[in-house]
Symmetry: C2
Subunit: 309 residues, 2 copies
């Protein structure tokens, strides 16, 4: 799957993943009203609104991007109907040929991580038969429990040719409280990065590993260090746009081959029509605004990569 991701990045010229993290305040009124007219102001109504909103965006941008990253929390908050909308979104994006990164940040003790890995990436056994549960292509994984919380995911990745991105240095303001602490003279994020690189050697694609890392755009200096610590690791970079990361901050997340990183933007793309810059599209054309924002983001990143040469 890492090979497919890289192929699609090359085809589109866009090392971009769009975060499908719908919040009700992003969803145009006409979509909410249509959903509530059908299902009432219920969890089912909210889930329908999310699904229609996502579908509009995916239809408008799927040819421009290699991947999407639905954040499951934004669906899980609407209970079971929300989870159903998550699954519909995953399936629809895969039908459109997109690589789907489930941003689930799971991680637990061994037998439990195995259940998460099976549920999100693999197949579960039921009597004589087996079924995919959620069937994303990649998921994000939390490393706090150590190797035996991560290895069950790696095992399923090897069987299914799928992948993971392990949290190393997250984009949020307080990520340093734990991740920047020094131990044996190195920050925790660097020690976790070394582990990610070691785990990654167990499942290499053509040039990069199936085991990737998450490093926030908001921490470019740490990104520069981690790029060297994990040379064959693909880095998923959240925090561009709304969280404050800029194109120029991103160059050091990439290797000299122009690969090795994929930059996430969520509300900067999916709620573009709410920004002054794209306000001319209006809520009725929210998906076209998202398309324009993807094109601008592609240009911003290409410019940043060209400027470092």
């Amino acid at each position: 799957m890492i090979n497919k991701l890289i192929t699609k990045i090359r085809q589109t010229g866009a090392p971009i993943v769009v975060g499908l993290d719908p919040m009700m305040k992003f969803i145009p009124r006409q979509i909410q009203e249509a959903a509530y007219a059908q299902y009432g102001e219920t969890l089912e109504g909210a889930a329908e609104a999310i699904w229609q909103y996502n579908k509009g965006i995916v239809d408008a941008i799927h040819d421009l991007i290699p991947a999407v990253k639905p954040q499951i929390a934004m669906y899980e908050q609407f209970g079971i109907p929300g989870i159903i909308a998550f699954k519909k979104t995953v399936d629809y994006c895969r039908e459109k040929g997109l690589v789907v990164i489930g941003d689930v940040k799971r991680g637990d003790i061994g037998s439990t991580s195995e259940a998460y890995a099976v549920g999100h990436l693999g197949k579960v056994q039921v009597g004589e038969k087996s079924y995919y549960g959620f069937d994303e292509d990649f998921v994000t994984v939390n490393p706090y429990l150590g190797s035996d919380g991560v290895k069950p995911f790696i095992k399923v990745c090897q069987e299914e040719k799928k992948g993971i991105f392990v949290l190393v240095k997250t984009s949020n303001p307080s990520s340093g409280e734990l991740q920047d602490r020094l131990s044996d003279g190195k920050p925790i994020y660097e020690l976790v990065g070394e582990q990610v690189a070691a785990w990654g050697q167990e499942c290499m694609g053509d040039g990069y590993s199936y085991v990737g890392a998450v490093v926030g755009a908001t921490y470019p200096e740490q990104g520069r260090i981690l790029r060297k610590v994990m040379p064959r690791t693909f880095i998923l970079v959240p925090g561009y746009g709304a969280q404050g990361g800029k194109g120029a901050d991103l160059a050091h997340f990439f290797n000299e081959d122009g690969l090795g990183a994929i930059i996430n933007s969520s509300r900067g793309i999916i709620a573009a029509y709410q920004q002054e810059k794209y306000a001319r599209y209006g809520a009725a054309n929210y998906a076209e605004a998202s398309r324009a924002a993807v094109l601008d983001m592609r240009e911003d990143i290409a410019g940043a990569l060209a400027a470092r040469a």
Copy 2:
């Protein structure tokens, strides 16, 4: 909710939480066959088997224990039907008066942790109305992202009078890889424990905080230290029984008031009929075997607490 948990611990004399972590290999054949007869060997069939199995156990033991802890991964692996079985289990246990600890180990950047907190503990807004998504009483939370990943949960706990247990020192063999690393002369688990104690001061119940901690029974020495670092923190202690923790290891997790800890057992209770000790019950009476195992566990813990006096 911490007050309710403590009241129920006192009433039952059992600082015990039963982990409702169903694996297909635990579920008696007659339950699986009945479920498959109705739904086929499908995800729906597996979910029905899980639900009937759980219901049998809860009916047999609910008067003996204060709380249950369903591990959502064991449900999530069966996709949406699995999640529906999780929700049915949560609702049924609450109807029976049990405190429900959702073992979800969520944790993310601020806005995303807020969505998880709303979905699992709070109410989500849909138009003019609001709804509970999963509506557990407590959830477990992963601290890797720092304060801004945890505080949204605390905010919802304050509003809803619910609680969380933050992972501090987990029960699995490799938990030390990250959690035991020394920083400023202290292990990470102790530094996280100090944070948990500080967060906990923002939401105190009568004697203990709504913000609890997870510390594995398999690490009794660390439990002794953490008991002192977090004097008003309730500790959820997994790892008893199948993972190797014994009653005698548990005494130091408790305060002198006999409170401050709740010990989890999962397969040791729910799959008791598969142990030689309870084999006489047979698969047909699996729930009675679980009841006997709860009574033995209660005695083991009471003995350990008495022995330290």
